[in-house]
Amino acid sequence: MSSIDVKNIAYLARIAMPPQELADTEQKLQQIFALIDHLQAQDTRNIEPMAHPLALAQRSLPDVVTESDQRDKFQALAPATELGCYLVPIVIE
């Protein structure tokens, strides 16, 4: 992983990092990837990937309303709301 990679990944992950933090993170990620890269040596031809410990099918639910409207309660947690909407900086002028 080069420094450009870390900067790009931080952008993709939407995490702002000052240059010093970026450098420290890059050094630690290099060490972590040295550990992870151990995986590459294993032959996994004909092995199915396992996404989940249970072979479960998603349950279907009846198509009926089961939850009540709790918008005000949920929006009480928000940093900024107005008229039932979440406020963010202007996106389109």
Binding site: I9, E21, P49, P53, F74, A80
Partner: protein
């Protein structure tokens, strides 16, 4: 009273030799005295606890035992990642420092329905990412056996609270060892149940295919009582198992004569110090004396568990933690210039270093060009690890191993080196990848610090490992030891 088991306290309440209010008063006084030293709790709810205790005492005065919830009026503490209606759920993070959940997690609701009274929320590594509870926004928790040492993590506050006798039981979550490792380092008993056994609804998500809530207690018997309260199907969790829940106390007294214990050769030759080996061997000899047979087995892909885990868990973490964007809840940065600045600075300022590292690893391994080499490869290796356990459980009933490679380490000793920290969970990660249940129980000490033995079971066979642990604890007294200078 502080080091009594839940079962002892339950009997005392039933015999009316103590009231629930008296229990709460004693526990809260102890928390007030010791929490400044240990930092096991992030928040304490004295007022609500007393209210619930008075209600429990009234109920007990009016009805027979048989009509009452089984754990009525007994204290518990919840790891601060279980949502609690009206009480802060911080997940150990600045990101959620102002978050008061609008609902209770199913685990919290079920514990309350069983009669347990929550005294507060316990400290943890931020978003359950860590093995020492040093990654908390609220400062590290200290090990009650020696406060210069870590209690393990990520559920370190819950483990320390039980070990210090602040509460008889607590809840935790285990994604890669976060119940078993702190249970071992704090000298108590902790169980990671089978994946799907306990609802994850309202448990703040870290890695959804690995996360599982579970109990800490002073004994396997107490764990069985907690499992009776916590386990069961929940339609609100799409991965919750819709199968009957046994009475986990029913098999505790069974003989373990003839049960086969598998000893994976890969776990007993891998960086295990001779002092650890000696204690584990003694514990195994005790189990052998009780009638169990020791059988060498192999889990051939064990050495790949750590690298597979550190691809899969961060991948799921990067996806789960994308919800923290400073818009609907949680931390928001000051004066965002635009929407991207709002997202990036809220996340950059709201998350701690370890959480950010894991989000970045996850983002990288899921990105185009790296997905096959890392994420898909890790999932294939996960399959191999699961197959190893399937093969092993054809030959044995339980698998035993150390819970950790060493006893507790000093605060700050490993904090600067994430790879060394990740090695703390070398014996616990594989079980999460396979979705199986595992328990850690105390089996000895090295220089005054506890050592844990891990008992792993086949899928949904919690009763069998609780039976084995209970039989061990009936014949030994390691689980009755407690710190002397608190």
């Amino acid at each position: 009273m502080p080091y009594k088991t839940l079962t002892d306290l339950k009997n005392a309440l039933e015999q009316k030799s103590i009231s629930s209010r008296e229990l709460m008063t004693q526990a809260l006084t102890r928390i007030e005295t010791l929490n400044p030293k240990l930092n096991a709790f992030i928040s304490v709810n004295a007022e609500m606890a007393f209210k619930a205790a008075d209600k429990a005492d009234q109920l007990r005065a009016q009805k027979n035992h048989a009509e009452l919830p089984p754990l009525l009026g007994l204290p518990i503490a919840h790891k601060d990642l279980f949502c609690t209606d009206g009480i802060k759920t911080s997940c150990g993070s600045k990101m959620l420092d102002n978050f008061i959940a609008p609902y209770d997690a199913t685990v919290v609701r079920k514990c309350a329905e069983a009669g347990l009274i929550s005294l507060g929320k316990t400290n943890m590594d931020e978003f359950a990412m860590g093995s020492s509870t040093e990654n908390s926004y609220y400062g590290p928790t200290r090990n009650p056996w020696n406060t210069d040492y870590v209690p393990g993590g990520s559920s370190g506050g819950s483990a320390a609270a039980v070990a210090a006798g602040l509460v008889p039981v607590s809840t935790g979550s285990d994604t890669g060892g976060s119940i078993r490792q702190p249970a071992a380092l704090c000298g108590i008993t902790g169980l990671k149940p089978s994946y799907g056994r306990i609802s994850r609804y309202g448990m703040v998500a870290f890695a959804s295919s690995l996360d599982q809530g579970g109990p800490f207690a002073r004994s396997a018997e107490d764990i069985a009582w907690l499992m009776n309260a916590m386990a069961g199907f929940d339609p609100r969790d799409s991965t919750s198992l819709d199968v009957p829940v046994p009475d986990y106390t029913a098999d505790l007294e069974k003989s373990i004569q003839g049960l086969r214990i598998g000893l994976p050769k890969e776990y007993f030759n891998h960086s295990l110090a001779p002092s650890m080996q000696k204690i584990i061997d003694e514990a195994l000899k005790t189990l052998e004396k009780l009638g169990a047979q020791l059988v060498e087995i192999s889990l051939p892909h064990s050495d790949l568990a750590i690298s597979s885990y550190y691809v899969i868990a961060p991948a799921e973490c990067s996806s789960n933690l994308s919800r923290y964007d400073g818009v609907r809840f949680g931390y928001r940065c000051e004066n965002p210039q635009d929407l991207n600045d709002l997202y990036s600075r809220s996340r950059g300022e709201g998350f701690g270093a370890e959480v950010k590292r894991r989000i970045l690893i996850g983002t990288y391994v899921l990105s185009a060009g790296y997905y096959d080499a890392y994420y898909l490869q890790a999932q294939k290796v996960r399959h191999l690890i699961k197959d190893d356990f399937d093969q092993a459980f054809r030959k044995v009933d339980v698998i035993a191993a150390p819970s950790t490679p060493t006893p507790a380490f000093k605060i700050g000793e490993k904090a600067a080196d994430p790879v060394t920290m990740y090695q703390c969970d070398i014996y616990t990660l594989a079980l999460n990848l396979a979705g199986l249940p595992g328990l850690s129980m105390p089996v000895g000490f090295i220089e005054g610090l506890p050592v844990g033995l891990q008992l792993m079971g086949n899928y949904l066979e919690e009763s069998r490992i609780l039976n084995m642990a209970h039989q061990y604890q009936k014949n030994t007294d390691w689980h009755l030891q407690h710190p002397k200078d608190l």
